[in-house]
């Protein structure tokens, strides 16, 4: 496929116009305008309550905005058909340890035709599965229950699963929320590698500013609206970002807040 080696035309992976969402009477998104060019690895940041999660849910077609428009991959709103070209990596799985789904079974769900029928043991006979499993280094986890994985292991499995669709756009929600600090650097290295190899658009949605600085080529700061955007060093020094995060904000320091809102908060 030589098309992958040519630079992609500067089409928009995500184009959002005047998006407005009210939740329980409160305005959460107040006219968000956002354009993310295809092929980039960018970060969408904002403090808790800034509307990150709501915006992400709108992008995935999980929440219908009150007004405004969303275009994904230059095609249209997030319909089930279009979402086949999108990978989504949630923060965690709300799974009870009693649920025995193994990593192998979880991955096979995305490749039903090649994974063997329900009553046969799941064997991977398909190159795409082998490739993604090797790429995310999850071979040793295959027979472990998904519910028993550590935060970092789970993230790798979730990304592996989302890559099975060969997505053009990958959305990661608080990707290092359950990962310890030494694991974080490896983890972003892995995502950067996926981004380079697969030429896809990666959007990291996070409240953590420090990781953005090193890994994203462009940063969009959200606080009800996109309050600033640009190269990481520009955005980090912007007055509007200080206001969004409050006066105690120090951009080069790790912020490990516990955010009670979680993936489905505000």
């Amino acid at each position: 496929m030589d098309i992958a080696f040519r630079p992609r035309p500067a089409v928009a992976a995500i184009e959002v116009l005047d998006l407005q969402v009210r939740l329980g009477g409160n305005p959460v998104l107040q006219g968000v305008r956002l354009r993310i060019e295809a092929g980039r690895m960018v970060a969408l940041i904002g403090p808790n309550g800034s509307g990150k999660t709501t915006l992400l849910r709108c992008l995935l077609g999980l929440h219908r905005p009150d007004s405004g428009s969303i275009h994904l991959l230059d095609e249209g709103p997030p319909t089930p058909h279009l979402l086949r070209r999108v990978g989504y990596v949630p923060q965690r799985l709300p799974l009870d340890p009693s649920f025995l789904l193994t990593v192998r079974e979880f991955l096979a769900i995305r490749r039903p035709r090649t994974a063997g029928w329900f009553w046969r043991p799941t064997r991977f006979v398909d190159d795409q599965l082998h490739e993604a499993v090797a790429e995310m280094d999850v071979t040793r986890l295959l027979d472990r229950p998904v519910a028993g994985l550590s935060g970092g292991q789970l993230q790798r499995v979730l990304i592996c699963s989302s890559l099975l669709n060969d997505p053009e756009l990958l959305l990661l929600d608080e990707p290092t929320a359950g990962v310890d600090t030494p694991g974080e650097e490896d983890f972003y290295g892995l995502i950067a590698e996926v981004h380079r190899r697969r030429h896809l658009t990666v959007v990291l949605v996070s409240h953590d500013l420090s990781m953005v600085y090193r890994h994203a080529s462009r940063v969009y700061a959200l606080n009800g609206v996109i309050c600033c955007e640009g190269a990481p060093e520009e955005v980090m020094n912007a007055e509007s970002l200080r206001q969004a995060y409050g006066i105690h904000f120090t951009p080069y320091h790790h912020h490990h807040h516990h955010h009670p809102g979680g993936a489905h908060g505000a």
Partner: protein, 272 residues
């Protein structure tokens, strides 16, 4: 030995409903819906009472309909109010039992009928119940060929992930609840309102103790459902006991035996 016709019907119903409950139960327990199952079972009491009030000799239809109504009410209240699931279900469980008891106490000679529905009675299984159970089993079997287990697994793992993968999550949720309601309502003939949840909850729990993957858990759960329901019905006639307690105790014995399986697995596992 020749099987009495009622015994044949009861055994057929057990052999059909046991595996069905075993399969559904894996997802009911993983999705923390055991109490949901209990609530719609108790709602059936009001359906039975309404059936008798209307003068029906076989209250299957009002029983299933009333359980479906309560299941729908649970989902509707969950979407429309800020009440917790537990609260909604406790409300509807007690409400329907109270309604059923008020109606039954207005009818004469309800005492014997009540026990049949509370604890199960193999004599009460009609051909209609057997045919309905077979139809539901065929339906679920065909859905399995279309990878119902994958869809349910993904929805259990993460509803949003299922949505992005193209699963119509809301519709599938309603379909799953309808399937659970139908299965539970039909199983009430064998187990009774009070014990019916045991056939949904104990087989997957027993299977969980022995299995190493979801696929193994589902297959074992089907098997334990079959063994528990079939064995319980077979025991209940010669021992002249209500079928519900017989099935539940058979399931419980299997569960206790499976605990030995956990110990075996532990001793095999490499120490951390």
């Amino acid at each position: 030995m020749e099987l009495e016709p009622f015994m044949l019907r009861a055994l057929l119903a057990a052999v059909l409903l046991g595996p069905l409950c075993g399969f559904i139960g894996v997802f009911v327990t993983a999705r923390r819906m055991s109490f949901f199952s209990d609530t719609i079972a108790h709602a059936a009491l009001a359906g039975v009472a309404l059936g008798f009030l209307l003068g029906l000799s076989d209250p299957t239809v009002p029983m299933v309909l009333f359980s479906l109504l309560v299941a729908g009410l649970i989902l509707w209240l969950k979407e429309r109010t800020h009440l917790l699931n537990d609260t909604i279900m406790a409300l509807l469980l007690s409400g329907s039992v109270a309604l059923g008891m008020v109606i039954l106490s207005r009818l004469k000679g309800f005492r014997g009928e009540l026990d049949r529905y509370l604890f199960g009675d193999i004599l009460s299984v009609g051909w209609g119940d057997v045919v309905l159970a077979a139809a539901v089993l065929v339906l679920v079997g065909s859905a399995l060929l279309l990878r119902l287990n994958d869809v349910l697994s993904l929805m259990t793992a993460h509803p949003d992930l299922a949505h992005v993968a193209g699963v119509p999550v809301r519709a599938m949720n309603y379909a799953f609840v309808a399937l659970l309601t139908l299965t539970v309502a039909l199983s009430i003939r064998l187990l009774g309102i009070i014990l019916v949840t045991s056939l949904v909850v104990i087989p997957p729990a027993t299977a969980r103790n022995l299995a190493g993957s979801l696929r193994q858990q589902i297959l074992l759960s089907l098997l334990f459902g079959l063994a528990g329901a079939g064995g319980g019905v077979a025991l209940s006639y010669p021992m002249d006991l209500p079928s519900g307690p017989c099935i539940t105790l058979t399931l419980a014995v299997l569960f206790v035996a499976s605990l030995a399986g956990i110990r075996a697995r532990r001793s095999q596992a490499p120490s951390p």
